[in-house]
Amino acid sequence: MPFIPHTEEDVREMLVAIGAPDIEALFDEIPANLRCGKLKQLPQAMSEMEVAGLMSVRANQDGQPVCFIGAGAYDHHIPAAVWQLASRGEFYTAYTPYQAEASQGTLQVLYEFQSMMAALTGMDVSNASLYDGATSLGEAVLMAVRANRKSKSRRILMPRSLHPAYRRVVQTMVESQGIELVELPFDPAGGHTDPATLAAFDGQDIAALVIPQPNYFGVLEEVDALTDWAHANKALAIAVVNPIALAVLSPPGEWGEQGADICCGEGQPLGAPLSSGGPYFGFMCCAQKLVRQMPGRIVGRTCDLDGKVGYTLTLQAREQHIRRSKATSNICTNQGLMATAATIHMALLGSEGLERVAAACYANTQSLVQKLTTIGGVEPLFNRPVFHEQALRLPISADGVLSQLSVMDVLGGLDLSRDYPELGDVILVCATEKRTETEMHDFQQKLQMILTC
């Protein structure tokens, strides 16, 4: 029996101990008419060898095309040690660290994670992870509405330059709580949110302004001006950032005069493989004064009976298992193992290593764009500085071009017309530090071939 260790003798003796004639008798409290009988649509059991064969066929079927898509998930190198350590059974098969004394490993890792995230974002405190980037923003919006006592409006300003999936997820998460999401247009030339457009909201009651850096198009936003506008209008500033970009870009804690109030984002670039979109992890950091409004697990450093340093889950009175309907969020299981991997990833790279990764991504994307724009009709859509992604206009249907490239094992970017029909035939390309000169040259050759024939 797969994964069940009982011998026939075990079963016999256990039933004798219980005083039941057979295992079936243990289900005698379930009304007989509800029992489902044998489920015929379920498959026959496979051995590990058989399922290994199946999965290998399935994996091979999808191949491993060269990836120039970013759009919220980035193909970075992950040091070998990261997953060798994170996959250790002691991390991999532990539960949420409720019994602190028996979970010091996970708890200390999470405290180190919080410390590293706070350092990277320039914020005071961090939680121990949320599901992903989009839900971290949903939670940040809910938190801002709770925390901003100067605002009664439940209105949130959200730039259209923010990741479209993030905007949809936030909508799903907040709509039944009467929160209004107001979309801010992006500048057609720069691809950024022009701070001047905010003048239309001067003096209005706004709970928070969302500020992505870089934004979905890879473009750098005027974060200082946007943050200052938020504070001048009694709104909280919510930063949505890429942690790799933070190795080189100004951290949200230093934006504008006072810094952002809440900072969240997608943690995937820190040690999580692309893996079809998950598991990744969301992160959230905030100013110390807002910590009691933060959702999710938080680990604190404390002492044991002998005064020895130890770690424990803290501020649990915010959480669902204590406060139930009055909790700051319903989140329980989060993405602990991904935060563990991220901690090891950050420890191995350090700030200089992360800076090299960020700089190599920047350089590669510049090089790629330079190569692709030598092709007639291919040109950058926006004229503002970018980090490691760029929107490019194509002379013909983006969808058709990308399909042809895909057949040639090149994922040549994302078709932006899906979410921004107003942009026309535009692709969003990204070249991380993993893309080689040869791969970029090959992409250029193939694109040129498609566009010229």
């Binding site: 649509q41 992870s129 079809s276 404390t302 299981t333």
Partner: protein, 484 residues
């Protein structure tokens, strides 16, 4: 010692990052970071030793019996991990086009189909990232259903007092008021009390069956009838699905919507607090509202169903398609079990729980519901020990750690005083159960003869009992190199 305390300026694990020096001159100074972030500076070996050492300070399924009630800490098969991490699966970008996705999508499609069959529901969406997000999606669908019918006066979700804390918290996130329903003395929901509060304001009820009291609610049909007749819908919290897998299906009990915790019943690892996955299944009337994306089959091709295909969907719950890697692990596990294996999960987890319950009550422990069968878990109440000996449930739990066993769930559900919720799972040997039973008996004896011994536990762990009050009062949530 923290990794920060091993840091030395100028040290790096230099093989881990690109070799070329950073040239950031293309990024205008105004956008740039002025000072590097304070991250540790250590060698690769230092990091490896440090995190290996930390891992050794954890209890885990791989190292200990971990009978945490309502958490289903069963063995996580290695094959699931290895096969879900095949290089092509790890490298697949979530936006990869359909021609580079058929293998992956076939796995997801088949998992959807298997979950439909085993839960008795009409359709399944795999996208929720955890149980609580599944609950949110489920209640949001209940709301969407009522709204679509113009039935907007339904403002309340009913939740039994034994429910997981996530249930009321999820209902509130969907804009509902929560009304608590008491459990009767036999552990089943008090149907008469339910009758008093159910009505035109009832949007639905959230139930776990078997409940967290470790018993199967025998009156489930009456409850379903009562709530349906009032126009409400039934939500099934799948946290305890392990107890009934392949025996009785939530769909057949009358539930309209369910979430399944794949990190419990389908044996994906808990990772020290996630990632999990909380797929939702629904009856026909809720199908239009399922969260996107889902996988559909057209002939021999698979494709995503997204917002455009499902205009009435409650929407998207994560940037991409949820915790895909967790879904693959659950799929592989389900393939290895097959239909018969799933039924055996319920049988042997129930056998193990009933065996432990009987032996422990024979040894003088009090069951919270002595007249009832255990399901895959059961509750002991240590009220007697707490009153007579001054040794409470937390003391027993901490002392168990010294004996090399992870403690069961303590002080939950909230309505049973001094409770231990014990869930052995089907993957434990009888010898392991016997060892745990002997440990509990031996702690009971210690409590009778030398209560201080138990109250001071644990002694054999990396730390003694921690000061939680200090942790909350003198908040220290992040290391600062210059302050320590």
């Amino acid at each position: 010692m923290l990794i920060y305390q091993q840091s030395r300026t100028g040290r790096r694990a230099s093989a881990q990052a690109p070799l070329q020096k950073s040239d950031l001159s293309g990024i205008p100074e105004a956008f740039r970071r002025k000072q590097r972030a304070d991250l540790p500076q250590v060698s690769e070996m230092q990091a490896v030793r440090h995190y290996t050492r930390l891992s050794q300070q954890n209890f885990s399924i791989d190292t200990q019996f971990y009978p945490l009630g309502s958490c289903t800490m069963k063995y996580n098969p290695r094959g699931c991990n290895t096969l879900a991490m095949l290089p092509n699966f790890l490298a697949r970008h979530p936006e990869a086009p359909a021609d580079h996705s058929q293998g992956f999508m076939a796995c997801l499609y088949e998992l959807q189909e298997m979950l439909k069959e085993v839960t008795g529901m009409q359709a399944v969406s795999l996208s929720p990232a955890a149980g609580a997000q599944g609950e949110f999606a489920g209640v949001a669908m209940i709301r969407a259903y009522h709204d679509a019918r113009g039935d907007t006066a339904r403002t309340e979700i009913l939740v039994p007092d034994a429910a997981h804390g996530t249930n009321p918290a999820s209902a509130v996130m969907c804009g509902y008021k929560v009304r608590e329903i008491p459990s009767g003395p036999d552990g089943d929901v008090d149907v008469e009390e339910l009758r008093k509060v159910v009505g035109p304001q009832t949007a639905g009820i959230m139930l776990t069956n078997p409940s967290t009291l470790g018993v199967f609610d025998r009156k489930i049909e009456a409850i379903a009838k009562l709530v349906h007749e009032a126009g409400g819908l039934l939500y099934y919290d799948g946290a305890n699905l392990n107890a009934i897998l392949g025996k009785v299906r939530p769909g057949d009990m009358g539930f309209d919507v369910i979430h399944v915790n794949l990190h419990k019943t389908f044996s994906t690892p808990h990772g020290g607090g996630g990632p999990g996955a909380g797929p939702v299944g629904v009856s026909k009337r809720l199908q239009p509202y399922l969260p996107v994306p889902m996988v559909a089959q057209d002939g021999d091709q698979f494709r995503w169903l997204t917002e455009g295909d499902c205009p009435e969907s409650i929407g998207r719950l994560s940037t991409f398609a949820g915790n895909a890697g967790v879904l693959l692990r659950a799929y592989i596990y389900a393939c290895m079990l097959g239909g018969e294996g799933m039924e055996r999960v319920a049988e042997y987890s129930t056998l193990n729980a009933n065996y432990m319950l009987k032996r422990l009550t024979d040894a003088g422990f009090d069951a919270a519901y002595p007249e009832r069968r255990a399901t895959h878990e059961f509750i002991l109440t240590l009220q007697k020990q707490a009153k007579q000996l001054g040794v409470n449930t937390m003391d027993f739990a901490k002392r168990l750690l010294d004996y090399g066993f992870h403690a069961p769930t303590t002080y939950f559900p909230l309505l049973v005083p001094e409770c231990l919720l014990i869930e052995p799972t089907e993957t434990e040997t009888r010898e392991e159960l016997d060892g745990f039973i002997e440990a509990l008996c031996s702690i009971k004896q210690e409590a009778e003869e030398n209560p201080e011994q138990v109250k001071g536990a644990p002694y054999n762990l990396p730390v003694k009992r921690l000061d939680d009050v200090r942790a909350a009062r003198e908040l220290d949530l992040a290391w600062k190199s210059d302050t320590d």
